[in-house]
């Protein structure tokens, strides 16, 4: 008889978790609701989650017509893709060397990586901006991508992962005739997928949503990333047309939400992995 009853502790736990989830989801739900409302619905004094007139189509049409949404999304994909590619291309060999090869500077490099983890982009933003300006590289993919190509976080994360790889595997590879670069390409990379996917999640989420750096180096819509494009949209086009603005926001967050739903398990794995090892 007790077996079918849910224990009280469990009910409380679920209750608290649901409450927390609701608090975090509320703005997003409200955004979806607002994207379907007319201007008059939004500005009524009563707060209702369900729109009185379904205005989704009109709002989405407005959002798609008034900003070059395709360009924004494409920029987002290019910037995130390039950043991720370079980060992995730099971090994997670097982390391999630090984890498995013995050389004099290894300790010093470890200290530098640790220091690098402590310095936020905001601290170096100004000198970087000046440098890109002097090189006439503002408003370019280079300016958006270059500062993030070396990720100390990626190096640190891969380092932890590679340290757990058995030395015998590398010894076997050396005896089989592989060079160190061959080992990276043929042994390390194929076996590093769990770490790479976990890092991909962090990297792509951070740079897709980043507003700070694009705002500094980009002033033309042609190179605007999705969040920056959204800001232009609010300032120039939408004014106080919140329905359209929310529709645009919805479009921009959709790729990440879809990716999350598709790769939910990996997300959780990735976060727990860094939680355990970082």
């Amino acid at each position: 008889m007790r077996s079918t009853a849910i224990p009280a502790g469990r009910i409380i736990r679920f209750g608290l978790l649901s409450l927390g989830a609701l608090m975090i989801l509320a703005p997003y739900i409200f955004m979806i609701s607002t994207a379907g409302k007319t201007q008059s619905d939004i500005f009524t004094s009563s707060l209702s989650l369900l729109p009185q007139h379904f205005y989704f189509a009109e709002n989405f049409a407005k959002a798609l017509n008034k900003v070059p949404m395709a360009t924004l999304l494409w920029n987002g994909v290019v910037v995130c893709g390039l950043i991720f590619f370079f980060q992995v291309a730099v971090a994997i060999p670097c982390a391999y060397a630090m984890a498995k090869l013995k050389f004099r500077a290894a300790r010093l490099m470890m200290v530098l990586v640790m220091l690098g983890l402590l310095v936020p982009i905001h601290a170096t933003a100004l000198p970087l901006y000046v440098a890109f300006d002097r090189l006439s590289l503002l408003n370019s993919y280079t300016a958006l991508v270059a500062p993030f190509t070396i990720s100390v976080f990626a190096i640190f994360m891969f380092l932890q992962f590679f340290r757990a790889m058995p030395d015998d595997l590398l010894h076997a590879a050396r005896l089989d005739g592989m060079s160190e670069l061959g080992i990276v390409a043929r042994v390390i990379v194929p076996n590093a997928w769990p770490a790479v996917t976990a890092f991909a999640i962090f990297s792509v989420v951070a740079h897709w949503n980043d507003l700070y750096w694009p705002l500094i180096v980009v002033s033309k819509q042609a190179y605007a990333t999705p969040p920056l494009g959204l800001m232009y949209f609010r300032a120039a086009e939408a004014g106080d047309d919140y329905g359209a603005l929310m529709a645009a926001t919805l479009i921009i967050t959709l790729p990440l939400v879809a990716a999350f739903l598709l790769a939910q398990k990996r997300f959780v794995e990735g976060i727990t992995m860094t939680g355990l090892k970082g």
Partner: protein, 385 residues
């Protein structure tokens, strides 16, 4: 000319000496087992040989050529690892093919897409897959070639690792405890298979193990290494019957050899009424007397021999192990008896301990073997006192 000679290899890690000048010769086609307790430096020696580590000093000569400056990949030395070290992302067949592909295909031909367009690589790849299949047939793993290591049992993985090492026909074959991850039944079976494979291929083999039974049963010669020193290199029966050092005697043999403290005086060793004449002059003082458990007999109720008491009896089917404590010195002596000899024995009863004096070995205070006048290493019909 030896297939492989090591001369005075020394290695230390942070002030800790791991190898104290190890010298060793492996003859062509020979199977040498390098045996010793964990941490004695045997795996380090193997890694240095393979070129995965460097010795502080000493020489490695393979086929008359000094190997010290040669990179691991170019030494043509194959190694089987304890953990097998198979590439987890490749199938068994691909694993076995790796050393051949690295040797026979050029860098450009190995590239993923471009490589398959280059001339000549098709024939080479066909040759590789033919050799892989042939090797797999020899090791009876041809039905496993499409499986990944994760889908194979320990014994199967071990065979794939063997195949990967043997397929490129190395000039030296190194094995680092290849059987220690297998369960006991499989291990005994695999011993025989490795010996058989070695006999067929004839490649000189250095086999590292911490299991003395494995070493004695498989090797042509056994090298006993303890604390970074190679104490003895000899045929298995010599290692067992005629150990050169007390540590060798202690390490080899199950149950362990009995070591009791004795006194040397004017060229004679005395212990509880036993007197042995030594061939060489030894300073008066304590020495160790070693006697294998199979040369100890027990006389029930102490009718003759050294007075003692049975502490514990272990019945092992074909034999009975009796642990006795000597009344006078308090030392423990182990006797290995056949069951009918142990019929009257029960734990706790007083016994007389009889030892075969011809089989006793005397070791000096620093562990070196001291020869006894009149007895040699060869076995004789034991007489008990």
């Amino acid at each position: 000319m030896s297939a492989l000679s090591l001369r005075g290899l020394k290695k230390s890690f942070g002030g800790n000496a791991i190898l104290n000048g190890v010298s060793l010769d492996v003859e062509p086609g020979e199977f040498i087992a390098l045996v010793g307790p964990s941490g004695c430096g045997k795996s380090t020696l193997l890694r240095i040989l393979a070129g995965l580590d460097h010795a502080d000093s000493g020489e490695i000569v393979v086929g008359g050529k000094d190997m010290s400056p040669v990179a691991a990949a170019d030494r043509n030395i194959a190694m089987v690892f304890q953990s097998y070290a198979l590439y987890p992302h490749l199938t068994a067949g691909q694993n076995i093919a790796v050393p051949l592909a690295m040797k026979r295909l050029s860098g450009a031909q190995r590239l993923p897409v471009i490589g398959s367009l280059l001339p000549g690589q098709k024939d080479i790849r066909a040759g590789i897959s033919r050799d892989v299949r042939e090797m797999a047939t020899v090791l009876k793993i041809d039905h496993l070639l499409d499986r990944k290591p994760g889908q194979m049992s320990g014994g199967q993985r071990q065979r794939v690792a063997l195949a990967r090492a043997m397929v490129r026909q190395p000039s030296i074959f190194l094995m680092d405890e290849p059987l220690s991850n297998l369960d006991a039944n499989l291990r005994v079976h695999a011993r025989g298979e490795i010996v058989e494979l070695h006999r067929r291929a004839g490649v000189p083999t250095l086999y590292v193990t911490h299991d003395q039974a494995e070493a004695l049963s498989m090797a042509d010669r056994v090298a006993v290494m303890i604390g970074g020193n190679l104490l003895q290199l000899a045929a298995p029966d010599v290692i067992y019957n005629d150990p050169a050092h007390i540590e060798v005697a202690r390490f080899v043999g199950q149950p362990r050899i009995n070591i009791v403290q004795a006194q040397a005086e004017s060229g004679r060793v005395g212990f509880e009424g036993i007197r042995l004449a030594l061939l060489e002059k030894v300073a008066t003082g304590p020495v160790s007397l070693g006697i294998r458990p199979e040369f100890v007999k027990l006389s029930p109720n102490g009718r003759s021999g050294i007075a003692g008491r049975i502490e514990r009896l272990e019945f092992l089917g074909s034999e009975v192990i009796a642990h006795c404590r000597l009344d006078a010195s308090g030392e423990t002596v182990i006797a290995k008896l056949v069951p009918h000899e142990a019929r009257e024995l029960i734990a706790g009863m007083p016994v007389g301990v009889l030892v075969s004096i011809e089989q006793a070995m005397v070791f000096g205070p620093e562990g070196r073997r001291l020869r006894i006048a009149g007895t040699t290493g060869a076995r004789q019909e034991p007489a008990y006192v």
